[in-house]
Amino acid sequence: MSQPFRTEKGGRIDRTAELTFTFDGEEMHGYAGDTLASALLANGVHLVGRSFKYHRPRGILTAGSEEPNALVGVYRNGDQTPNIRATQVELYQGLQVISQNRFPSLGFDIGAVNDLLSPLFPAGFYYKTFMWPKAFWDRVYEPIIRSAAGLGKPPKNPDHDTYGNLYAHCDVLIAGSGPSGLAAALAAAETGASVILCDEQAEFGGSLLSENSATIDGKDPAVWVSETVARLEAMDNVTLLRRTTAFGYFAYNFVALAERVTEHLPDPDPRLPRERLWQVRAKEVVIAAGAIERPMVFPENDRPGILLADAGRTYLNRYGVKVGHRVLVATACDTAWQAAFDLADHGVDVVAIADLRESPPESLVAIAAARGIRVETGCVVTGTLGRNRIRAALLGRLMTSGKVASGGQVDCDALLMSGGWTPTVSLFSQSRGKVVWDSEAGAFVPGTSVQKERSTGAANGLYGLQATLADGYAAGEGAARAATGKSATISHSRATGGEAGNGGILGALPHDRNAARVKAFVDFQNDVTAKDVKLAVREGMQSIEHIKRYTTTGMATDQGRLSNMNALQIASGALEKPLTDVGLTTFRQPFTPTTFGLFAGVSRGDFFDPVRKTPSHDWVVDHGGLFEDVGQWKRAWYFPKDGEDMHAAVERECRIVRKSVGLFDASTLGKIEVVGPDAAEFLERMYTNPWKKLAPGRCRYGLLLNDAGYITDDGVIGRLADDRFHVTTTTGGAPSVFATMEDYLQTEWPDLDVWITSTTDQYAVAAIQGPKAREVIAPFIEGIDLSAEALPHMSVREATFCGIPCRLFRISFTGELGFEINVPRRHGKMMWDTLAGEIEKHDGTAYGTEAMHVLRAEKGYIIVGQDTDGTVTPQDAGMSWAIGKKKFDFVGKRGLERPDLKAENRKQLVGLLTRDPKVKLEEGAQVTRLEQPPIGTPAEGHVTSSYFSPALERTIALAVVKNGHALVGQTLYVPMPEGSIPVEVTGTVFYDKEGARLNV
């Protein structure tokens, strides 16, 4: 099929494997080995996108990941991924691509009216207008701006691809596989060091893959590449990662890599992750990221058909694609001449080489002459013509005055430009190293290393093939020696040709046109022109960071890799300060835009966060129970039967517990075994209560404060032996209570002979609560006497349950006779099934957390975190009784003595009864003294718990209320949108105030 700009032969593409793809629905062809960009160019397509602000037609500018213009949407599985660089899309059969930021079509885009109106839209225009009328900003102006902004459209559907993760360690990580990266890899690997070599491209070799004017060891560079890669591949200590971008360099030589695993495949195996995050800790890092060519800033330098010279050469030599039939080469640097020569050698009409310099090297001029190429020196491009593709360029002649005289017009269908080279210092900069200005290279190059890293080759400001190769070997050897202390002698390959190119220009080129009117682009994607940078300076922006933010230069998806140096030079000129005094913006990670899914990795769906289940989980599912998330746990919430709603189910569960018996899974409560001669002393110091006199076999409610004096946790603690306690905590509080205990134990009281061990997951716990609880458990418990006399309320024993050793607590969180049986976790299911079967015989029920909440509220038992909120003291909660008054110290004791914790008018926990027993207060509702408090009235407190109490046949609530303990009997109000609800302040115990039901 016709690929009119394909060369006759050459390139690394496979001409036997023709592939079909579509661009904006139009079918085209390319070859295996093409990128989307090279295939489009082969088809003569330059116009691929529209710019951000002015919607100007834009073409492919580069051949690398810094591409600012050719951003496309790639379709796969019925959805598209936006903003993919055409230069990084490997062509595959059936690839579907759309252009972006245009309506209705790429060729005719209504948004391009912005270009005509551009005089109204200089840098920062939006700060100066759209303020009137006031209401118009977010209703009118902003929606318009927002829909005009943005590049591609976001994906529409959830992403079903997976993303992998791998943690890795290595001696030497090498980022980049051009001549210096490959040499470094070889040198390091030969020492036996473990090496990871990564490159963002599909093939290793970097610039060598498009180098045809040099040899290495007498061989074509590409041959040397394949031999070198084969050598590396054969070594066990080397990991080679293609299509893998080192995107983030963090502290302690922690480098993040993004490996694109399947994106280049037409029909990937769904078991493969789409991308993989490599989190690498490297002893040494070699940055061999190369350098990128700089655009020249001349008027209308953004037309489709204008490319960087090296990109033009890459398309030709690597992909067998001519960027045009009549090509103008504009340069300030030697290297672009080679592009002109290569094009000429492929029969392309190089209409001229326009070199800014008065006297480019004689040798180059001679070669050009030999090929019959017109050479213009001291010559700049002052403008271009053409709408969706360049058709001519205006030349200007530099005069000694510094002015520019018109130098006529040349027709061309492509223009290759080179402003010189910029070392890629992004990773170095991310490593927190400071770049230094190298006046010889005319570039910022890596300065002193902050981390264990070294930059090599072009990334280090070195040019010329032999120089970069030699530098690479040295970097690899040095890194391996630093990492492992080992070295090896390997023969170094030598290169001839590919000499260092001299020259380069920063900033805007001089021209003979009205600088205030023409658009010479600095940042292509964000449509920032040289005059925008100057305007920012004129308006008082002096810091490069202000200039960047005001103009948005360097904030496009290439993060300023193409634009920063030119912008800096223009700013430097406008500020009349040396470039090095203006400052450089920081390169931030990621090096190139990186998929969210990669960061999220496997943390999605059920693996987003561990799902902790208790042994009764399956039983609950089978019996229609619903779950509540409490921390990472799934706790049975309630068990609706026969179409019951939550209210009905909970009411039924509560009634049955009070009437006969209920079964509740308490496994999630935190459990800590405190063991050692000083166990009681330790608890004495941690909890408010006294512990030393608690007899083995007995339990006590424990209240835990922080040292500020506020309640943080509570639970029942049983003494199993003189030196052994079984502590329980709240479900959510378990990890923090354990950590707090370790903190005090290890750092405040290391002298205590006591240790703590978490046993939360050691035991499954069933709570059996209700008048028939004893009858339910009796058949299964052996070894102890369950009678009230032998085992009173707040006791603990070791016994067996169905022959399995267990810890049996007689405790209650319902106010009924209750037991909690702890068996080793693997017997938990057996215990639950056994008890669940047994309670049926007693007309009992399983109940969930909601019924548990109601039952405990009827008894006025608090739930830490619901009835307390981190600002509540024991006194506030009416729990002064829990404080061991005679204790010398405990955590929180001194905190409680602070003025505000003893002040009048603190919020105190009380009960509230609505005047109308059917009205249930909302949890969180505010409590006021006035029935109709005016707006801004501070509340007296709020409702912490509120339920319908089946036992009382009415609603009940707990609340914290200022001075509440003194207000018992008084009427307060709970103002709601529908009207104020009068409530009576009561005590917190609503049911069985004497505790008669407990002690049976």
């Binding site: 009137w132 006031k134 590049l151 591609g152 205030a516 999220a600 966060d609 500020a708 505010q926």
Partner: protein
């Protein structure tokens, strides 16, 4: 000051924008000022602006170590809301909301305050209780906040995943419609331009190296990279560096500075209409006018002035975002950056006089200072001008940590059971 308007823009288009003046000057410091503000972030600049505008104190310098607006003002995720729990907090942030609503007009600078709504998601029964408590308290305090069912939340924010089958399903949300975002740089620049116009000197690239105190202990001025600057009063508004600056005056504060990161995606067409926050799974997100998804991440666990957060923090933030908005999984991170946030033990700011006469401090905003910028500057200017707090910031003292009278927003959302 030349006023900004569309007409002015059009006029300048004819002269190719060659005639715009400076937005602020770059003056050399004078020998003496009535008030020196340390730190030219949003809060510091706003303080200077209101000192000049509301209190007639125009002999003011704002001294900045780097470039104005370059700290947390230029690094945050620009969320504006006021639906805080405690009356003290709600009053402070609501005061700010009132000022936000007219700020562009007040400053003649479009700060792009966009009341697109801030939605805070609830995922558990406990979250619902906490949200409802906020809503009820806010209603009483006159602060807008309302409860949405998952379906209503999805209607307000169509990309939201309200499937019951995700790990932490959305069970509802609190929505503050008047909440939203603003353009962070514009806030700093607008205040800078406004203050400069009123005579305030903004002195950039000038680090404060010392705070000089007289024999009676009161403030005499500040030592700077450009020499000693005498001042009757000094207001420190140095965010993450507050401890460092206050130590120069011998004042210890209950502050710790942590790295906080934020990130943006590549710009895409409008995809996200509001601000969504989830405290339970630690994520907040909005879309900028440029089209970038703006995402806030958590703080690292250790004190640091490195302005660099860890990758594991980023990972945890993005996994949460992708759970809530699964079609953003293919979006890509464009840029990630860090700031230094100064946090107090109760996660509420300190806006207060200090034990040193003439020295005032405005700090401890943690991760949420941007939203308060106008209100904070306004009441802090009052505090400095009158040498006594505005009623709104009166509770935000240093002494509250001694007495225990905390304004603890974090504790109120305590997780336990």
């Amino acid at each position: 000051m030349k006023r900004y308007s569309f007409l002015e823009l059009a006029k300048n288009a004819f002269s190719a924008h060659q005639n715009w003046g400076r937005q602020w000057r770059a003056p050399e410091p004078k020998a003496e000022y009535d008030v020196v503000i340390v730190g030219a972030g949003g809060h510091g600049l706003a303080t200077a602006y209101y000192l000049a505008r509301e209190h007639g104190i125009r002999n003011v310098a704002v001294i900045e170590k780097g470039w104005l607006g370059g700290g947390n003002t230029g690094r945050n995720t620009t969320i504006v809301r006021s639906n805080y729990l405690w009356e003290e907090s709600a009053a402070l942030y609501n005061h700010a909301i009132g000022l936000w609503q007219n700020l562009s007009q007040e400053l003649n600078y479009n700060v792009m305050y966009s009341a697109r709504g801030v939605m805070m998601l609830a995922h558990t029964v406990h979250d619902v209780q906490v949200s409802q408590r906020h809503i009820h308290a806010n209603r009483l305090a006159g602060v807008q906040n309302e409860w949405l069912t998952p379906e209503e939340a999805k209607e307000y924010c169509p990309p939201l995943n309200i499937s019951r089958n995700i790990r932490y399903p959305v069970v509802g949300a609190a929505l503050q419609r008047v909440g939203g975002t603003a353009r962070h740089d514009a806030v700093a620049w607008g205040y800078a331009r406004g203050a400069d116009d009123l005579g305030v000197d903004i002195i950039q690239n000038c680090a404060v190296t010392g705070i000089r105190r007289g024999q009676d202990g009161s403030v005499e001025g500040v030592e700077t990279a450009k020499g000693f600057i005498k001042a009757k009063k000094v207001g420190v508004v140095a965010a993450g560096h507050t401890s460092v600056v206050m130590e120069m005056a011998g004042v210890r504060l209950p502050l710790e500075s942590f790295p906080l990161q934020a990130l943006v995606s590549e710009p895409v067409k409008p995809a996200f209409p509001c601000v969504v926050m989830s405290n339970t799974i630690h994520a907040y997100i909005s879309q900028s006018d440029k089209g970038e998804l703006v995402i806030g991440a958590g703080t690292d666990q250790f004190v640091s002035y490195s302005q660099a957060g860890g990758l594991h923090i980023t990972n945890h933030t993005i996994d949460a975002i992708c759970e809530l908005f699964p079609h953003f999984r293919r979006m890509r991170m464009l840029r990630n950056w860090g700031g230094i946030v100064d946090t107090t033990p109760d996660r509420s700011p300190i806006l207060s006089k200090t034990p040193v006469p003439g020295l005032y401090v405005n700090c401890g905003w943690g991760t949420g200072g941007f939203k308060a910028t106008p209100g904070s500057g306004h009441v802090f200017a009052h505090t400095i001008a009158k040498d006594e707090p505005h009623p709104i910031n009166a509770p935000f003292t240093i002494d509250r940590f001694r007495t225990g009278r905390l304004i603890d927003e974090a504790a109120a959302a305590a997780v336990a059971h």
